[in-house]
């Protein structure tokens, strides 16, 4: 399902390294591309993602900023309008709250509001998610906000290869693209092509195929779903695992096809359940032709409707774990 066609050489990289490689390749290929954000230079990024890029491209193009998220994103909007290809890093996705005006009221709408006379080709990269003990203001999963905004594209890479390929596609895109990375994934490794192959936005990846239940998962939940699927297989339950990868535009057809085949859908996200993006996927499924093929109610397994707590045992309880996925999926299959 990936658009990577001729990846000549594939190495093992971490997700963070894959992001860095994409940034470096994009900057090499196009001098309009530059990075800005808090501590992206010498510090190498709060999560070490930009790393040594400042040494390769200099402080002008790998630009440390003061702590002013609204200003930084606004500066990216202006630079994009004036012909550049800025890539903003926001240290934690929680701080996009500071910049929502420039993201939503400006970047997302300018192309439309100006009747197509201008474009805002910018990328905003930012890590979401819990699991590091950083508590309620540093652990949110806010993809549903962005996915609700016409004019934005929203990407959630779940593997190192996608972290690279989707980011390269996002940088190419003439629209503002929000790339939601995940803190816990940064250190995960996987095969990554060394070339600058793009992974097209808007294609759901089928990570695993099984006939009993379709598990749709995003972000860090993709690897948990795959792990759960192995356990389920050992129990005789065959699960398909689908990773939408881009929430906007959403390739819902691949999801509908899978659910049509399995008749059961388990939708897994880290974000709190109420109003989360999996509600949208649930709605798409029941609006679609898959409706007539459903053998069970559509089930969501999501984060609790709570802010992320600090204590490790509480933090763990607040979001789906592998065993929760196993339990819900087998319940779905065994009961219906």
């Amino acid at each position: 399902m990936t658009a990577v066609l001729d990846a000549t050489n594939t190495r093992t990289l971490t997700y963070a390294e894959a992001v860095r490689e994409a940034l470096g390749q994009a900057m090499e290929a196009d001098e309009r591309v530059f990075l800005l954000g808090e501590d992206v230079g010498t510090y190498g990024g709060a999560f070490g993602v930009t790393g040594d890029l400042v040494h390769r491209f200099g402080e002008e193009r790998v630009r440390d900023t003061p702590i002013s998220e609204l200003g930084i994103v606004g500066a990216a909007v202006g630079a994009a309008l004036a012909g550049m290809r800025p890539i903003v890093e926001i240290q934690f996705s929680d701080f996009t709250a500071q910049a929502m005006d420039q993201i939503v009221n400006q970047a997302a709408k300018i192309h439309f509001m100006l009747g197509g006379a201008a474009t805002v080709p910018m990328v905003l990269r930012t890590p979401g998610g819990s699991g590091t003990g950083a508590a309620a203001q540093h652990s949110q999963s806010l993809e549903a906000w962005f996915a609700h905004v016409p004019g934005l594209k929203v990407v959630m890479p779940a593997t190192p290869a996608d972290a690279k390929g989707l980011l390269l596609a996002a940088i190419d895109d003439p629209n503002p693209v929000i790339v939601l990375e995940h803190k816990l994934l940064y250190k995960q490794s996987g095969p990554v092509p060394d070339g600058a192959e793009r992974v097209r936005l808007g294609e759901t990846a089928v990570r695993r195929t099984g006939g009993d239940v379709t598990i749709v998962a995003t972000g860090v939940m993709v690897s948990r779903a795959l792990e759960a699927a192995e356990t389920l297989a050992s129990q005789g339950i065959q699960a398909s695992v689908l990773d939408p990868r881009t929430l906007r535009p959403l390739d819902d057809q691949t999801i509908v096809d899978s659910v049509t085949a399995t008749g059961r859908a388990l939708l897994v996200q880290e974000a709190p359940k109420t109003g989360g993006f999996m509600a949208e996927i649930a709605a798409r499924i029941v609006e679609s032709s898959a409706f007539g093929h459903l053998r069970a109610p559509v089930a969501r397994l999501c984060g609790l409707d709570v802010p992320i707590p600090y204590a490790p045992q509480l933090e763990r309880a607040a979001v789906p774990q592998v065993e929760d996925i196993v339990r819900e999926a087998s319940e779905l299959v065994n009961r219906w």
Partner: protein, 323 residues
Amino acid sequence: MDLTKDAAAARETLRTMWTIRRFEEAVDDLFARGLMHGTMHLSIGQEAVPAGACLALREGDYITSTHRGHGHCIARGAELDAMMAELLAKETGYCRGRGGSMHIADVATGNLGANGIVAGGVPIAAGAGLAVKLRGGEQVVVSFFGDGAVNEGAWHEGVNLAAIWDLPVVFVCENNHYGMSMSVGRAFKVQRLAERAAAYGIPGVTVDGNDPQAVHDAVSDAVHRARAGQGPTLVEAVTYRWKGHSKSDKNLYRTREEIESWREQDPIARFERAVAGTLSEVDIAACRDEARDRVREAIRTASAAPDARADSLTDAVYAGSDR
């Protein structure tokens, strides 16, 4: 440049101010007659600021504008019929009827957009300045905003970025004494908003915003500094809005006398008196008539144009991939 002594400049300044005035009077009238939709923010009484400021710019320079942006758009050289068509919700409007007054812009003249968000254009201007700097260009960005915008976080952050990176941006504050009903006296504890420049380590200057010459001089100096790589300047132009904030304004927060006293300082009448030695009565009348005629013609052309089409709305949200 002495706008009152140089006949060509005098004519251009006068024509620009009259065009803004006549355009907005026409808009006011169309709105009152129910022929125009939405809401309108008119800059009548403030024409000297865009006229004086934009004369300091070259082709290729950028501006960011505001909800009260007709004047900036016109002073930067936009076509009146495409502007009028936009306000009349026509397919031929600058934004194909999708933006209206609050988003009007002629991108071809470097106008990066009016903005419905107070101070929304300020960080955008810094970003355009950053683009220029990264490319090693000579362009300048003028960011227009009102007094009310100066208290927004976006303003603070945008100005600071421009300051620390020495970006070629000129921040032009149109201090018309009020942000909606909130007077500058109540919203600020400083006397002059230009005092805030010091907080960012950049020069700040306050000028008579009803005098195009004063505005022009200050903005020209600032543009010169910006082009020379010396960074941004804050220019505060003190002026007054004659009309209500928008259509919902009952003017409860200011007195008739105050409004009257400022009408007596009409920037256009003042400038006509100032250029009396340079332009003849006939010349002056010609400027006035030309403005009137251009606006009339714009209304005619725009009115005849097809209405904006609702059929391709969703296609218009995203730009097509360019690679």
